[in-house]
């Protein structure tokens, strides 16, 4: 009986040692980031100041705040990733854009991508490296499309279901389409179509834009009006991006359907959208003229019981009430 506590203690101690030993020997392929647990007022202040300056597009003034933040965060932590991305972006966009700054930004983005590709900041860094390769950042800066493609693909492969991957897919397709070489244009379209097939609109906020981009490419340089119209209609069904230029798109769709594809039904639908959604675009009158023409050519619709064929609507009058948007919060009239 005298030895029992001693034996129990030994057992417990041995078990504890085993547990400790196991935990020490455990291999972790990706070291878990050390969370920044304690809110640091100075860090918060630095990031808030940076946010404010970024809101004014003042990258030059924002950069010291990111420097300050970097001095306060733990290396390779989540906040380190954000601050590094912020500093790199400030370097990249401080005007005038210089080769020196772009080189420094590239180094920081690369460091971030290598250290934390699992974070949003890391993926954005990968995208930024693609953009640096693709864009002409200063006079005589060449565009390196193959390098850009490598980065975009890397972002896609790294996190295929992330929002950054949607953007990477768009940019990747763009590196082919912008050559205006027809086979490469088709290759770019294929990338987008494959992406849309596996990333439908409810998961891909860029879906409508991708359809627009496919449509533009089919229109020119491929000269495939049918495919162009199909994709414009798909984009519209999802919801056109609010650029204020919706009227020009509807006009293009209507004209394609009306004058090139002999598709009066679609043309009527698109002209009607100009009247309903973009009444102050300046094309409402011409859209109404086209509707009058098309409706006068169309065979009468079969009448349902109790209904009569409605007369074509009168052209908009030139009073001050004409063209007011309907009270369903449709987008305002677009700039022509």
């Amino acid at each position: 009986m005298k030895n029992a506590p001693h034996i129990h203690t030994k057992i417990i101690t041995s078990l504890a040692l085993v547990v400790i030993g196991l935990s020490l020997n455990a291999s972790t392929p990706n070291p878990q980031p050390t969370p920044d647990l304690t809110p640091d007022p100075a860090l918060e202040a630095a990031l808030q100041a940076a946010t404010r300056e970024i809101g004014f597009f003042d990258y030059r003034t924002a950069q010291p705040h990111f420097d300050k933040a970097l001095s306060l965060v733990k290396p390779q932590s989540d906040l380190w990733a954000i601050a590094t991305y912020g500093k790199a972006t400030c370097l990249y966009h401080t005007t005038p854009v210089s080769p020196h700054n772009v080189t420094q930004a590239t180094a920081l983005y690369t460091q971030l991508w290598d250290a934390r590709p699992d974070t949003r900041s890391g993926r954005l860094a990968g995208l930024a490296l693609g953009r640096i390769a693709e864009l002409r950042d200063f006079l005589a800066d060449p565009s390196d499309l193959p390098l850009a493609r490598t980065w975009y693909q890397a972002v896609i492969d790294n996190a295929p279901t992330s929002p950054e991957a949607d953007l990477a897919a768009l940019r990747l397709a763009g590196t082919y389409i912008q050559t205006y070489d027809k086979p490469q244009c088709l290759q770019g379209i294929q990338i987008l179509q494959n992406w849309l097939a596996t990333n439908p609109p409810d998961k891909n906020p860029l879906a409508a834009g991708m359809h627009l981009y496919i449509a533009d490419t089919c229109f020119y340089p491929l000269g495939n009006d049918k495919a162009a119209l199909e994709n414009y209609l798909k984009a519209d069904a999802i919801g056109l991006p609010p650029t204020g230029k919706e009227a020009t798109l509807y006009w293009r769709m209507a004209t394609l359907a009306d004058t090139r594809l002999n598709d009066p039904k679609t043309a009527i639908a698109c002209y009607e959208k100009i009247l309903k959604i973009t009444p102050t675009s300046g094309k409402a009158f011409e859209a109404q003229q086209a509707l009058n023409r098309l409706r006068s050519l169309a065979p009468p619709l079969p009448q349902a019981k109790g209904q009569s064929n409605s007369a074509p609507p009168a052209p908009p009058s030139s009073t001050h009430d004409a063209g007011r948007p309907t009270p369903d919060n449709s987008p305002p009239g677009a700039k022509p």
Partner: protein
Amino acid sequence: MTSPTPEPISKPDAPSQKLSRITWVILAGVFFFCVARVVFLDRQISAPTGQVIRIAHWQLEAGYRNSMDQAIARYEALNPSVKIIQLGITEKVYGQWLNTHLLAGTAPDIFEVGKSKVLSSDTYLPRFLIPLSEPAGKPNPYNKSTPSQAIRWRDTFRDGMRSGLHPVTQEYYSAPTALFTARIYINLDLLKEATGSSAPPQTLAQLLSAAQKLRTLKTPLGESIVPIAGGADSAQIFLTGYLIPFTATYEPLLDLDLDGIITPRETFTGWATNKISFQTPGIADYYHSLRAITENFAPGFMAMGRDQALFLFVQGRAGMIAAGSWESTGLTRNVPFPVAVINFPLPAKGDPYSRAIAGNANEASLSGGGSFGINRSSRHPQRALDFLQFLTSVEGNQLLNEGSNWVPVVTDSKPTAMALPFLPGTAGYTAKVDMKYGAVPSSILAGQLWRYLQGEVPDHAFFSAVNEALADPRYGGKNAWALDYADQIVWVRQQERTIDAFTLQNLLSDTSPDKTQRLNALIIEQQRTNNAQELRARFQDTFNQPIGQP
């Protein structure tokens, strides 16, 4: 007896001493008055109870400030603890005045946006103006009990508030308060005297005929009546007023990307591929008809300023004038003769210059003017917003435009009877053929056009000069295209700054779904330009040569 001690002669005060005493008194009085005024105004602005809002603008046209006073009085009646102070600053100094106060942090709470170099910068504008996007997406509280009560504030404007939308940041920064159009004003007394009828001309031929007859009249002092009062401003109004009616017909021929607009580059493409020229009926008729119109201006009209032309009309020495709706009160109410206001009459079928007339210009897409923004440094930004929303409510916008007889920009606000002729016409076309493409060809066209319109050179000399400029290998249309290409490459890079700013904000703080949607829209818009490569490709397709090579 000794002579009495002469009294010391007292010299009268020297004039300079008297003057200096009066001067000192006046100076002291002025000084204390100024101090009292500053203290009084400062107390007013910093009053612990009540708020003072200052609103500044450059609209010194007849009737506007009275209208603003009426709108202010109504707002103050609804909000008794608020005082609004109107500041009308002449447009000659408005820009410098505003720049100085913005940089000093002393600008008014609300100010008319424009004429300021500071506000034209994408970097500075967000620093000085409060974004209005959030309230723009909700109903205007001052539209309760009106048909607009459930409509988003921005949708209550005739232009959808797009005049206040900043293209780079995609935020609304200002709200327009009026719409402006241009028309022809006619002195009906002179018209009747010249033609026997006070019925305004319905066609261009009738207008030219009336102008011819007006030439025969003389003023009581024996001066010849000028048929059409015109300076450079007025001539430009005719140029703008007739461009669409004469050339919209060519949209199907020239609009390559089917967006409903003929861009200057598309016009140049049409010219370069011989689809159009100065002999094309609509284009030739446009310039020839303008010459016929300017033949009725005073000789040397290009030297005449806007005010001179206006005076000529209001003094009864000119029969007609083309001017903006902002001049309406001065040109219709403050004159001793009846005035008719008409839109630009077009050639009737079969008349001279009628070969390619499409129809009137569509004014539905006009952007609002008289836009006001809210100073970021305002002590009372919520109150400033409240007043701005009142000014752009159905009631407020009507009040604001009543005295000046301007066209209200809020759709449900009723215009005055005098403003009715200026309501934007929505039955018309939008495309136009503008032969200005490239800095040098545009400059040559403008210069030669004025010479042609003043009768200094014949039409063929004008056309040849422009053709030569467009064809010039160094600075003609092809060079302009190459510059457009270079500019668009720069634009793409600038867009990247904006996109990354939005992305970084998104990363640093929670942003609304609306902002995310706008960010995606910016990305798509940038992507669709294909890094300017469409311009390069289209150039190659059109001219079968690489862009940028002579």
